[in-house]
């Protein structure tokens, strides 16, 4: 059985990140896009934890904790915006959200 090397973590993290980016780019439901963003953030977290363990420095783990905090706050604000939008427009389709045009 091969030992788990940083390369494995890197591959997993990259895969998660790619899945997240593709989700953000392609999906139309804003909830799904939101979840994809969480995937991206967690891909970064995996990277941070993996290198922290590898190097033997706890700073990476502390950073990951911060990312999780920010993600939680972001989730609260984002879901609030989505709810407000839904109340006005009766939809969560990202194509309808073109208010920031000229």
């Amino acid at each position: 059985m091969t030992p788990i090397t940083p390369a494995h973590y890197m591959i997993l993290s990259a895969a998660l990140f790619i899945i997240g980016v593709i989700g953000v780019m392609t999906r139309r439901n804003i909830i799904v896009i939101f979840m994809s963003i969480e995937l991206i953030l967690n891909a970064v977290n995996i990277n941070l934890i993996a290198f922290s363990a590898q190097v033997g420095n706890a700073v990476g783990q502390v950073f990951a904790i911060f990312v999780i905090c920010v993600a939680a706050a972001e989730a609260a604000v984002g879901l609030g915006i989505i709810l407000a939008f839904y109340r006005n427009k009766e939809t969560v389709n990202i194509d309808e959200m073109n208010l920031m045009r000229w």
Binding site: V21, V24, M25, I33, I94, D95, M97, N98, L99, M100, R101, W102
Partner: protein, 779 residues
């Protein structure tokens, strides 16, 4: 005498009380009482002052009272370049002439006030107070006029009486003819006043003073302008223009007959006895100036005699009782100016006084007749009134004989004096004046005949038996319906009746306690009530006695009034320091005499002597023999008698003659009836001319002045429109251009901003890939 300032002020106070409070609060009786009591007090004061004046020696009979400084001293440049002082105190002066005038004004004024209390008793309550306020105000101004010691105080009175005349002529202002007559009187007077004012200005720049005595003293030093028309002649002509306006002489006499639209007592007081004599008084006041201008004197005499003739001839054919008297007044005023013009100033003033008595009397009698006839003024509708109103008949006969110049009534003495003096001066003027006297006697007796003699020609009246209240009311109503000449109608037609609707109501209620007084229901001609007959009788006594103060020397009298008045017409000896000096040696001489405390009436200085000489020269030969004088008197009495007899023959004995005469001389009769078409002439020339030029000015105003204003307005609008175009298309255009350029050019770039987050994220992703690729592949 120090109280003379109260004499004008008392009626002034009466006017203020009646005018401010009386119109609203006073009863007819109270208003009349206030007005009469002020006049009575003024009369008493005047009489007292007169007695005091008589107590002084003749040369000291001048008393000045300064009330206050009206215009404080101000330096002013005079005509000859020297600097004079314009200083006008509000000063009253009592001298023989003004003493006579205040007695006439307050005496006759008082009687007319008393008469008015009865005559105006049918007016509404406020109207009576208004009437008395005007009448008192008139007396205030008239007394100011005659007491004023300088031209400006006199001018205040002069204008004030004109105003009151206007107010009183237009007293029944609802009646258009009365309002028009008031305007006519006022405007005609304004023409004369303009001349008067110019004369006063010229007096000041010439003599440097407004005071009568100072001016007279200064003028006495001037040479008599016998050959050339100089400054004094110009001054006197201008003053005379003022006198023609106020005293109704040719060419400004036209207002006086129309002024008969006013109440009859007003005609008696203002348009017969007092105001119209103001012009005569003013000429007399300036006797020194006038005697220095023989040319003006000639003009005065000629205008006077022409006016006397013309007015008397018009009076021959008038049928309105008051108009006959009005033309008679104009004619008699002409007489007074004849006297002034021939230098007989005292005779003119004497005639002024006697005329005031008998003409006021005649007017008041005519008022009583009109009152009795319930407003009828047409003499052809009267006749036979002698038996209905004996007092009025008797007193009017006295007045008629007085004006006709029958001795020993007052008119004889004064008229004869004028005729005598004009005979000395100019035989032609004497002849014309005597002819006017003939006509006077004729038309006055015609008036008497038509009014009091013969058969009654008026409308029928309600006979007795209608005195019951109900019957009265019924008869009243029925008569109104049936008789077009009924009283209420007569009011509209414009006869002088003063009974308002309140009167009819009263009558309809049967509340007519007086047997005679019901003008709403007329019971035929009747004698006037007591206050009216009282005034008539007193005036009749005055008309009889007034002449005795001036019995000529030829008849054994002393001609007291002439001696009394003479100082007022001579140059006074006040020192001429404040007047213009440097005219001969007159000033120093006068000063010496003044220093000696001698206010002598004798001529002083070379110039004054000259003037005196000229006065005598103008009178031609000094005197006629006594026999000739008596012959002249007999002639003038004869003239009067002839006039009376002719009128008697024509109008009483054989009334049909007058119609035959009128038919035979149709053309002259028509000219006379139409008053020589003078009103028409003035209408065609002066009035049309004024209206035409006013129209022209209005057209100019409308087209040129308004055109200029409108043009500038239009120009402003046009230029602002241009500015608006500039703003809109050039300034705004530039701003919009910038905007639209930016807008159009931004069209391409706008495409990138879809508003879809995913697009942006995709682009970011591509950018990251690009950067990473560049990093990995190139470096």
């Amino acid at each position: 005498m120090d109280l003379i300032w109260l004499i004008p002020l008392l009626p002034g106070a009466g006017a203020a009380v009646n005018g401010l409070a009386g119109i609203r609060y006073f009863s007819r009786r109270t208003a009349g009482l206030v007005a009469c009591s002020t006049m009575a007090a003024a009369l008493a004061l005047s009489a007292w002052a007169f007695v005091q004046l008589l107590g002084l020696p003749p040369e000291a009979r001048v008393h000045d009272v300064v009330l206050f400084d009206w215009i404080p001293a101000t330096p002013l440049r005079l005509a000859d370049g020297s600097i004079g002082a314009l200083h006008v105190p509000w000063k009253f002066r009592l001298d023989p002439l003004s003493a006579m005038m205040i007695l006439v004004v307050t005496g006759i004024g008082f009687l007319i006030h008393v008469y008015s209390t009865s005559y105006m008793s049918d007016e509404p309550r406020g109207g009576v107070a208004r009437y008395f306020a005007y009448l008192n105000l008139f007396c205030f101004f008239m007394l100011t006029l005659v007491l004023g010691a300088n031209y400006l105080v006199m001018f205040v009175g002069w204008e004030g009486v004109g105003l009151c005349s206007y107010l009183l002529i237009g007293y029944w202002y609802e009646k258009k003819s009365a309002a028009d007559a008031g305007k006519k009187a006022f405007i005609t007077n304004r023409v004369g006043d303009f001349g008067f004012l110019l004369g006063v200005f010229l007096i000041f720049v010439t003599f440097g003073s407004f005071d009568f005595r100072e001016v007279a003293a200064a003028a006495a030093a001037w040479p008599v302008e016998a050959s050339q028309f100089g400054t004094i002649s110009l001054i006197t002509i201008l003053l005379f223009v003022g006198a023609t306006g106020k005293s109704a002489q040719i060419p400004l006499y036209v207002w006086l007959p129309d002024a008969m639209e006013g109440p009859t007592p007003v005609s008696a007081l203002i348009h017969a006895a007092t105001m119209v004599t103001a012009g005569v008084y003013m000429v007399g006041r300036n006797a020194v100036l006038f005697s220095h201008a023989p040319m003006t004197m000639e003009v005065v005499a000629i205008v006077g005699v022409l006016t006397a003739l013309m007015a008397a001839s018009i009076g021959l054919v008038q049928t309105d009782i008051k108009r006959v008297l009005a033309y008679s007044t104009v004619s008699q005023l002409g007489y007074m100016f004849v006297a002034m013009g021939v230098g007989a100033f005292a005779a003119g003033a004497f005639h002024l006084m006697t005329h005031a008595f008998f003409k006021a009397l005649l007017f008041l009698c005519s008022g009583a007749v009109i009152h009795a006839m319930a407003g009828e003024q047409n003499m052809l509708k009267m006749g036979g009134l002698k038996k209905y109103m004996p007092v009025t008949y008797a007193t009017m006969m006295v007045g008629t004989l007085a004006i006709a110049g029958i001795p020993p009534l007052s008119g004889f003495f004064s008229k004869d004096e004028i005729l005598y003096r004009s005979f000395l001066s100019n035989k032609v003027i004497w002849g014309l004046a005597a002819f006017a006297a003939l006509m006077t006697a004729f038309y006055m007796f015609r008036l008497m005949s038509l009014t009091f003699f013969g058969a009654y020609r008026g409308r029928a009246w309600e006979v007795a038996g209608h005195h019951g209240a109900v019957a009265e009311a019924a008869g009243h109503g029925a008569r109104h319906a049936a008789d077009p000449f009924a009283h209420g109608k007569a009011h509209q037609v414009g006869h002088e009746v003063s009974h308002g609707p309140a009167d009819s109501v009263q009558t309809a209620h049967g509340a007519d306690p007086h047997g005679h007084g019901g003008h709403g229901a007329w019971h035929g001609p009747h004698e006037a009530p007591r206050p009216m007959t009282f005034a008539l009788v007193v005036l009749a006594i005055g008309a009889v006695l007034a002449g005795f103060v001036g019995i000529p020397t030829a008849l054994g009298g002393g001609n007291a009034i002439e001696h009394f008045l003479e100082p007022s017409f001579a140059a006074p000896a006040v020192h001429a320091a404040s007047a213009v000096g440097g005219h001969g040696e007159a000033a120093p001489v006068a000063e010496t005499q003044a220093a000696a405390g001698l206010a002598s009436a004798e001529p002083t200085g070379a110039g004054a002597e000259q003037a005196e000489a000229a006065g005598h020269a103008a009178a031609g030969v000094a005197h006629l023999s006594r026999g000739a004088e008596i012959g002249l008197m007999a002639f003038s009495v004869l003239v009067g008698l002839v006039g009376i007899l002719v009128a008697w023959r024509i109008y009483v004995r054989r009334p049909e003659i007058s119609e035959r005469l009128a038919a035979r001389f149709a053309a002259p009769h028509r000219v006379l009836t139409n008053k020589y078409y003078v009103d028409e002439l003035y209408d065609a020339t002066v009035i049309r001319g004024t209206m035409g030029s006013a129209d022209g000015l209005w057209t100019f105003d409308r087209n040129v002045v308004d055109g200029a204003v409108n043009g500038s307005g239009w120009l402003t609008i046009f230029s602002s429109w241009l500015s608006h175009l500039l703003d809109k298309y050039i300034v705004d255009g530039l701003v919009n251009l910038v905007g639209s350029v930016l807008q159009e050019s931004s069209f391409v770039f706008r495409r990138f901003q879809t508003g879809l987050i995913q697009n942006y994220a995709l682009l970011m992703l591509f950018g990251v890939f690009a950067f990473v690729s560049v990093y990995l592949l190139v470096w």
